[in-house]
Amino acid sequence: MKFTWFNLMPWPYLPDDFREKHRSVWVDIDSRLFDPAKANEVYNSYMDMLEYAGTMGFDGIGVNEHHQNGYGIMPSPNIIAAGLARRTSDVGLVVLGNSIALYNPPVRVAEEFAMLDCISGGRLVAGFPVGTSMDTNYCYGQIPALTREKYQEAHDLIRRAWSDPDPFAWNGRYNKLRHVNIWPRPIQDPPPIHIPGGGSVETYDFCIDNTYSYSYLSFSGYIRAKALMQGYWDRVAERNAPDESPYRAGFAQTICVADTDEEAERLYSEHVSYFYNRCLHVYGGFADAPGYRTIKTIQTGALSQYAPPIDGYSSLTWKDLTEQGHVIAGSPETVRQRMEELIKGLNVGNIFCLMHVGNMPMDKCMHSTKLFAEKVMPHLRDMFPDYKDDNRFWCKPLKKQAKPGSLPAEKEVAALVGGKD
């Protein structure tokens, strides 16, 4: 199993009446709710938390990209990942990912990921999302019906930029480049690639054909994800993929651990409520620009992955959220049992653990993280013994990595000029 401690980086100061007074947490969220001075503390404590998780035995620490979004203040995950690369060691840096259709030209992603891979000593796990409609279309102005074609071209260009040892010309529809020749190149050839998807058949096939891991990043939990993930595994079988390795798939799950089930509710319910009520308050008009999803995907019956439950999240109580699996919460034993259900039920080898929830303060987040790392994770390590050597979907760091603090002592520098400096 590969466990990644993941932080969406929500803004923790959305007001109590956010739902009533504001129409959306995303795209046209009121900028007056953002306080840059407070953001200084927020970013630094979130990065501290990621670094802490990096010391607790997780396989990876994860970041992602959103724009104009009150629950994800990371328009550039690469900036955060660069900071983490310097302050962590051994743990995978899961950047899930860069919305490659948004970069002009997309070789920028090839370059920045190569930098991250070199700085971190080969610890990058790369993600290439199409990007949500909110981010890609409404915030970044991409034409919905052309987004996927542009994404595909960006992907092909990045892969070739990483692998072709010679300068080449790229005469694409969306990119014209006469001299593609990126410096630096990534350590990993190529870094493992995870593709976040929301149930489209095209994305299933894209992952299967390229040996990429398919990630379902939902906030509605493992029980509701069953049909979608089954669709993926059916497709894996239909396309005669060489194996059904669980590492071909990943799943994001909100997890809260305490000493007892009751304690979990007492400690975490207000933060879970903050997330589902305020952070997921997205105006319906931004959910799915017409043309963004393919006709085939709509016809398979999938509503937008951002479509809320029929009565909305606001009507869901702690009991509803935990029983329906949106959130896995409780004592280490409760969480272990439910995680087993998730892992077996969905056949997923990569878990993106959403352990910071809404406006959760750092002490509670550390408590939950520590309990998960020490009392849950070890019991879940060997869920798939048949595939324990399947490293195709994970980073392969250098055996000996450079560490910060490599400079010589000042007196050694002085010795260069006879000790007279």
Partner: protein
């Protein structure tokens, strides 16, 4: 009106044909058009009307090859060629007006009479056009109609949101149609037309609803200024979908083209 199909180099094109008189080609707006459209019926009283559907609209085939303004402009010329028409009266509503104006700018010697009904295609920073791509269906009547109540009744006829099959059909149609419209209207409906309008040689009639809340009447004046000799006809108590609200008035304005 009779539904027919004509083959063009890229894709078979669905069109409605009816009426007798001089040939007139009508290009619909982003919402599409049906054979029962009251404005087509009005036009057909005086003209031989051809109303082609943009690929993806109604039951017509989609066309991935059409990606940008130039593709769509030339495609629509292909349609006119395929129909065997030469210099028909060219009329367009909203998005269709944008396409018609582009066609006239790119081939000014082939369009001598042009009718533009509250066309899209210009952008005024002081009057940002509401983002129809970010509106929920129930929000649309308020910007599309002068008489919002009547417009709502028109738009909600046959709607069955609690029927999953109906909903799927609606989402598919919306993705096909508005996905196509988005290629020239999203996220800002300006593809540089303002710098090409000087090329127009056609006798041009602009028709605008006084109550247009989508592309407000300030745009009517911008268009009139940009097209040499254009005549502006204002229709009182009419909104953006005035071809539905005031079909006789709009058809009368178009008849000024001859």
């Amino acid at each position: 009106m009779e539904a027919k199909t004509v083959q063009t180099p890229h894709v078979p094109v669905r069109y409605f044909e009816g009426g007798k008189g001089e040939p007139l080609v009508f290009l619909h707006g982003a919402g599409g058009i049906t054979a029962e459209d009251p404005f087509l019926a009005e036009l057909a009283k005086k003209y031989h009307v051809y109303a082609p559907l943009l690929p993806g609209y109604g039951d017509s085939e989609e066309c991935g090859e059409l990606r940008e303004m130039l593709d769509i402009t030339l495609h629509t010329w292909d349609v006119i060629d395929a129909l065997g028409l030469k210099d028909p009266i060219l009329v367009g509503h909203s998005m269709g007006g944008m396409i018609a104006a582009e066609m006239a700018a790119i081939a000014p010697n082939d369009v001598s009479r042009l009718g533009l009904i509250c066309p899209a295609g210009l952008w005024l920073d002081d009057h940002p056009i509401p983002d129809i791509f970010a509106m929920l269906p129930y929000e649309l009547p308020a910007v599309l109609f002068h008489d919002v109540e009547a417009g709502t009744a028109l738009m909600t006829a046959g709607v069955a949101l609690d029927d999953p099959e109906w909903l799927k059909g609606f989402l598919v149609q919306n993705a096909r149609q508005m996905g196509m419209a988005g290629k020239i209207l999203f996220p800002v409906p300006d593809r540089g037309l303002s710098q090409r309008l000087y090329r127009l040689k056609a006798k041009t009639v602009l028709v605008w609803g006084d109550g247009d809340k989508l592309i407000v009447p300030a745009y009517a004046h911008a268009w009139k200024k940009a097209i040499n000799g254009a005549e502006l006809v204002s229709i009182p108590e009419a909104g953006h979908l005035m071809t539905l609200e005031k079909p006789e008035h709009v058809a009368k304005a178009i008849s000024k083209l001859g």
